[in-house]
Each structure stands twice: as C-alpha cells, then as structure tokens.
Amino acid sequence: MSNDSYSPSGYKPDAKDLEAILGPLEADVLSEVYEMGKPVRVREVFEKMKSERKIAYTTVMSTMNTLYEKGILDRKVTEGRGGLLYVYWPKMSRPEIERSAVKHIMDSLVKNFGEAVTSYLVEMKTMESNEKKA
C-alpha cells in the first residue's frame, strides 16, 4: 500500500464517483489514466478523450498539471521523439485514493460535528442490524 494520501479541498454531495472529490474534468482525466494502466503522455490521454468528446490538448495538459500539483499524479521527464517530455502515472490506486479522501472528509466531519457524526453512525448501524434480522 502506498504511503501517499489525498485530502480533497471540497466534497460535492450531488456528484458521482470521483467527481465528488475532484473537478469534473479532473475526474475524467484521472479515470482515463487509470483505464490506460501505464505511464502516459498528455497526448495519449488527449487522443483518447478527443474520440469521446470535444476537448483541447492544452486543457488536458493543464488538468494533468493540476492533478500533479494536487499530488494525485506523479510525473517524470523522459526522452521522446526529438526532445524531452513528461510522462504521468497515478500515485495511488483508485481504492487508495477513495479511501484517503473518505478518511480526510470523515476526520473533518468528526472534528467539527463529532457528536452528530457518532450518533448518525450508531443510528445507521442499528438500522442495518434491524434490516438483517428482518
């Protein structure tokens, strides 16, 4: 397991999947990177996303840069055709990043609304065991 962690700056309750903890474009780009399953260049992600939706290379480039700055992606300089370029890969696996985000959000909720969170969790647990008995 990786020692890296991700603390999201916000949580969007109405959003789906990774979009709840990342921007919509960031979530899409990260999903593509996970799907490709190898260190990728911006162009590879751009070509893949281009076939599915209208998107600019520079947009993908700056999104991947943002994901790197947020500590979600890692990158290194490598030798490509005619010059040096970046390749990116995820620092953490998808379950790791989800777990890390949940941990930070829960920690924050417990810190700010400790009693409410505890009683809600107890309530949830009770409901769950009642459902099982029934």
């Binding site: 209208k54 600019a56 520079t58 030798e79 040096l84 370029l85």
Partner: protein
C-alpha cells in the same frame, strides 16, 4: 593517400588562393561600402550573405574557362579565327577527386532541396512528434494565430503541437501549406500576449518567404560542403532572417515589449536537451525558424542580447529591395574591378575551375598540336568531336546532298 595528395595539391595552387583572396576582398569592400552608405539592415544583409554563399558560382560565371567556350565553338563548327590551331579533346579516363567531391555536393544539395520542398513537413512531424490540431480542437491558440495572420495579411497557417518541455516555436513549409508548431514548454511558459508576439515572429517568417530562401541557402551550403565559408555565410543568412522576423513581427503587432519578455523567458528555461544528433541534424535541414536563442558560434540563431537590441528596429520592404539591388550592384562592380586588376592570374583560375567544375570525374585536356595521343591518355576512347579540318562548315564546302 591519393585523395589527400590531390586535394592538398589543389589547395596549395596559387590560382585557388587568388580566388579566395579575390572573394574575400570583394565581400569585404562591399560590406564596408554597405556600412558607409547606410545600407545595413537585416533584409539587405541576408541577401548580401546569400550572394557571398553563391560566390563560387559568381566567380565561375565571370571567369568562364576560355577552353569551354572554344570547345563549344568547335563542336558547332563555328571558327571565327581560322589561324588558331585546332583544338581537339580526348577523354582521359582518370578519376578527378575534386570533380567527385563536387558531384557529391551537387547531389546532396539537390536531393535536400527537393526533399525540403516536398517532404519537409512530414519528416519534421515524424522526427519531432508534431501533431496537428484543428481550429475547434485548440480554439484559444488558433484564435491567437488567426488574429496575427489577419493583421499580417497572410493565410492562417496550420497549427502543430509537440510535447517537448523546451519552450520553442517554429515554422515548417511555405504558403498555404505552412505549419506553425508550438511546444508544450512554450504554452506553459508564456502568457497570451507573449504568445501573440511569438506567433507574429513565426508568421513574419512566412510573410518574408524565409522557408524558400533558406531552402535554397541550405541546398547551396550542401553543394559547397567542402567550403568552410559556405557554413558561415549560410548561418549568417539565417541569423539575419531571424532579426528581420523579430523586427517585422514586433512591429506589425506592436508587441515589442512582449517579444522581448518572451525571448528572455524562453532563454531562461534550461531543459537538458539530449536529442539524438541525427534527429537534431536532420531537423536543422528543414526547420529554419526556431524561436529559441542559442549562443554557440555557427548556430543559426543570434544570441539574446544582440537579438533584443534589434527588436523595434525599422524595416521597410520596398526600401530594402532598392537597397539590396544597390548592394548587388556594389558587389558586382567590386568583383569586376578586382577581376580586372588581377586578370592575368585569373587565366590560371580557368584551368583550376575547368578541372574542378566541368570535368566531374573526367578530365578534358588539350590535344597536342603535332597530333598523336596524349601521354597517359587511354587510347581507343572515341573523340568528342572530329578534328576541325574535317568539318564541312570550316572548309567552306557545301554539304553534299545524300
């Protein structure tokens, strides 16, 4: 060692040295006159260096070997001076190394010129990993380039991108086919106004037809690959075209300050450029307009300080054309004067140029007046023309009807 001996012999011959000295004197005097007469700006200077590059051809045309003219006369049966002993030629099958070197240069130059005109875009795209983006795929960058193109009065070029970290931009191809390429590094480094200034610089290359000029210059450089001066002249032409693109681009878009700051930013980013030598060299044959500023000697781009001093200079293409014509006239007249003063040694130049430029692997030699074969000649090889006295036209006889 035969090749080395032959080349050394040619180099050490006085006529060759005289050609070199004459060229140097002519170019030097013309340059001083350019300075004195205030004909000194990038456009004019770039044409001056083009002429310097073509000096060997100019010398050859001006001092055409008299033997060649005589041979043409003999072959056509035209003999204005009947008293002059007839001249005949034999083929001597012997390798002339200088001729071989010239042929190699000619082949190199011609092939590169043809390739750069037909395949340069696809070659550079493959070597540098350039991919083309359409207007709807990269609207903001396309918008910048389109705006500059409209202001400059040129067709909006195609846009290419590379993922290189080194901030750089360059143009490949000409006219409607031209493509301006930006690296990821430059898009990350510059702001919108600076990008506009860089786009203006690249479009100025298209407006100034630098691709065509530099394709010819590069081809000539390769034709005269054995002449060190040709490398210097070619790199000087390239530098002057860079100054000109800086001036024209900054002036048209009124982005003098932004171009300066863009150049400073570009030159301050240091990435370890470890590109393969073959790739870099091949690219340099077809890409003449990289914005990057390099300081090493003999590189196509001037150093940053000199370049910044040039930005904001005034250019006027109509005035420059007139100035270029004046410089060409100066160069020509200086050449004639120099040629006149040393006309006697120039006769020797005939011989060496004759051997260097015309024989191309075969030597043409004067046939002895007394008849018979030339010493060392391979016998049994057919003569190029029959002896002059056998020619009908020379004898004044009417040609019998068949």
């Amino acid at each position: 060692m035969d090749v080395v001996d032959e080349l050394l012999r040619i180099i050490m011959m006085p006529p060759l040295l005289q050609v070199v000295v004459t060229s140097a004197v002519v170019l030097g005097v013309t340059y001083i006159l350019m300075k004195v007469l205030h004909l000194n700006n990038p456009r004019v200077r770039s044409f001056y260096f083009c002429l310097a590059l073509m000096m060997p051809i100019v010398m050859y045309v001006l001092f055409t070997p008299s033997v060649w003219i005589t041979r043409l006369m003999v072959e056509r049966g035209f003999a204005p001076f009947p008293d002059v002993p007839s001249i005949d030629f034999v083929r001597v099958v012997e390798v002339n190394y200088v001729g071989v070197v010239c042929i190699i240069g000619l082949i190199f130059g011609t092939v590169t010129f043809l390739i750069s005109n037909v395949f340069s875009i696809s070659i550079v795209k493959r070597l540098q990993g350039v991919f083309e983006v359409k207007a709807d795929e990269e609207p903001s960058l396309y918008g910048i380039v389109e705006k500059v193109a409209k202001k400059m009065g040129v067709t909006t070029p195609r846009i290419g991108l590379t993922e290189h970290l080194q901030p750089n931009a360059f143009t490949i191809g000409r006219g409607r086919n031209a493509m301006v390429v930006f690296t990821m590094g430059i898009l990350n480094t510059l702001d919108v106004k600076e990008l506009e200034a860089v786009a203006a610089h690249e479009l100025a290359h298209i407006k100034n037809r630098d691709f065509s000029i530099m394709a010819v210059v590069t081809a000539l450089k390769l034709v005269f690959f054995y002449n060190p001066v040709s490398y210097l002249a070619a790199s000087m032409v390239s530098r002057e075209r860079e100054y000109l693109a800086d001036e024209v681009g900054a002036k048209v878009m009124s982005r003098t300050r932004q171009l300066k700051s863009a150049l400073i930013k570009i030159s301050s980013v240091k990435t370890d450029q470890r590109s393969n030598f073959i790739t870099a060299w091949t690219t340099s044959l077809f890409v003449y307009s990289q914005i990057t500023s390099l300081k090493a000697a003999f590189t196509a781009h001037p150093n940053l300080d000199t370049r910044l001093r040039h930005i904001g200079g005034n250019t006027n293409s109509r005035g420059d054309t007139a100035k270029t014509v004046v410089v060409a006239l100066l160069l020509g007249s200086t050449l004639f004067l120099a040629g006149g003063y040393i006309s006697q040694p120039m006769r020797l130049v005939d011989q060496i140029l004759f051997r260097v430029d015309e024989s191309f692997g075969l030597r043409l030699m004067r046939f002895p007046d007394r008849g018979g074969h030339l010493e060392g000649a391979v016998t049994g090889v057919p003569r190029v023309v029959p002896p002059i006295e056998d020619m009908m036209a020379y004898k004044g006889k009417s040609i019998p009807s068949p």
